[in-house]
């Protein structure tokens, strides 16, 4: 294969990944309990990778929610 072909595929993989993000993110959210999603989606890293198990207790501020994954 020509080297330009690999460049093309690499270049197109970036928009393809971005294209997929909304779907992947939505699927990842579907694994979270509803009561957690009603407050925040930040128990996943950028909403994509679950990085904490959802807390069982309720009182939390939205600011601490946002920093839950360390972002």
């Amino acid at each position: 294969m020509h080297r330009s072909y690999y460049w093309l595929i690499t270049a197109l993989s970036i928009p393809a990944f971005l294209w997929l993000i909304p779907t992947i993110w939505m699927v990842s959210l579907s694994f979270q309990p509803n009561e957690v999603l009603a407050r925040t989606t930040s128990t996943t890293a950028f909403g994509l990778i679950p990085c904490h198990s959802p807390p069982k207790t309720t009182p939390r501020s939205s600011v601490s929610d946002r920093r839950r994954c360390g972002f």
Binding site: I9, W19, I21, W25, L29, T40, T41, G47
Partner: protein
């Protein structure tokens, strides 16, 4: 010989057989398309309240073209040269482009005529405005038409250009390209409800992924769906993401129809990559581009779900579109006559674009 005669006696002639085979289709087509269409036109000529007529079929009154006047016209309406400078300038540019294109042989007669008529309409229609003490009878109708045109004006080039570039880049028989094609087509298979749900949460300033990323980068999140500046952009982004797949597939089919010999001949003259795309792919895709653009225009003029589910036409009617307005007039305000008049207006627009596609396609044949 005897067999032939027997066949003639028992069988149907070719035209009779064709009529019998066509009959079921014609019956369904007439019952579900032709009859409702003429019924819609008939309703548009009446003062027809949905609930009143449902309880008392006689509670409708023939009022001729009054619904059209109440929808499209107003009191003391005047025409001015600079009533809407941007739109009217676009119109003049369109007329000029059509004239020059035809004179220089770059545009066919039908294409030049279509662009010229569109330019004339852009020049004439926005010139109408209420004069002193005047007002439109329906203040929401023309802004709604404007929003729909804005949506079409943003979504159609967005979908067409992106799909064309992707199709040109992803044309080929390799596994990697097939996977990438599938990824870009994937969003097309989702229903409007799912797509709007995904993007509503994506755009959410508190929970959305875009807000998460913006905050992580130190910015403050944009309130996409409730900010008048961004609401239409949000709907357009959602639509481009959703409806790119079919356009890409049509372009891929068009590209695969172009003979490889032309590319090989061009490669001898060092026309590869972008040069080949510009001088070979684009001219040979003219018909496909026309088809995709016209299909997209017709499709996007009928936008409803995105506006209805994501913004409910807001904020401040900035994403109110024609089909949603027809729906509200008919089923919320129960003014079925007026809603039908708007639907007929929409049909005229659709019909005009279909006619353009037909004329351009016939001329290129």
């Amino acid at each position: 010989m005897a067999g032939d005669q027997r066949h003639k006696r028992r069988g149907l002639s070719q035209s009779q057989a064709a009529a019998v085979l066509l009959l079921p289709f014609l019956a369904v087509y007439g019952a579900f398309l032709i009859y409702p269409f003429f019924m819609g036109v008939w309703i548009s000529l009446h003062d027809w309240n949905l609930l009143a007529v449902a309880f008392n079929p006689g509670a409708k009154e023939f009022i001729g073209a009054e619904n059209y006047v109440r929808t499209l016209w107003g009191r003391n309406i005047e025409w001015g040269l600079f009533a809407s400078p941007v739109m009217q300038t676009v119109g003049v540019l369109g007329i000029g482009l059509a004239f020059l294109g035809y004179r220089q042989g770059r545009l066919t007669r039908a294409t030049a005529l279509a662009i010229g008529i569109a330019g004339a309409l852009f020049f004439l229609l926005p010139g109408f405005h209420p004069g002193e003490d005047g007002r439109w009878y329906d203040r929401r109708f023309w802004p709604t038409v404007g929003n729909t045109i804005l949506f079409v004006g943003l979504a159609v080039p967005g979908v067409t250009i992106t799909a064309l570039i992707l199709a040109a880049a992803l044309d080929g028989e390799t596994r990697a390209k097939a996977i990438l094609r599938t990824i870009f087509f994937l969003s097309q298979v989702l229903s409007v409800t799912v797509v709007t749900l995904i993007w509503q949460i994506m755009f959410s300033p508190r929970q959305g992924l875009i807000a998460n990323v913006t905050e992580a980068l130190g910015g403050s999140p944009i309130v996409w769906l409730t900010d008048q500046q961004f609401a239409m952009a949000a709907i357009v982004i959602t639509t481009v993401w959703w409806s790119l797949g079919i356009a890409m597939i049509l372009f891929l089919a068009g590209i695969q129809d172009i003979s490889k010999d032309i590319y090989e001949a061009a490669a001898i003259d060092d026309a590869r990559g972008v040069k080949a795309f510009w001088y070979i792919t684009l001219p040979n895709l003219k018909r496909t581009i026309t088809l995709v653009v016209v299909l997209q225009i017709i499709l996007h003029f009928q936008v409803f779900g995105q506006s209805h589910l994501m913004t409910q036409g807001g904020p401040n009617d900035s994403t109110q579109v024609l089909v949603r307005y027809i729906y509200q007039t008919a089923f919320r305000d129960s003014e079925l006559g007026k809603a039908s008049a708007m639907a007929v207006f929409l049909f005229v627009i659709m019909g005009a674009f279909s006619l353009v596609q037909f004329i351009v396609g016939r001329e290129e044949d």
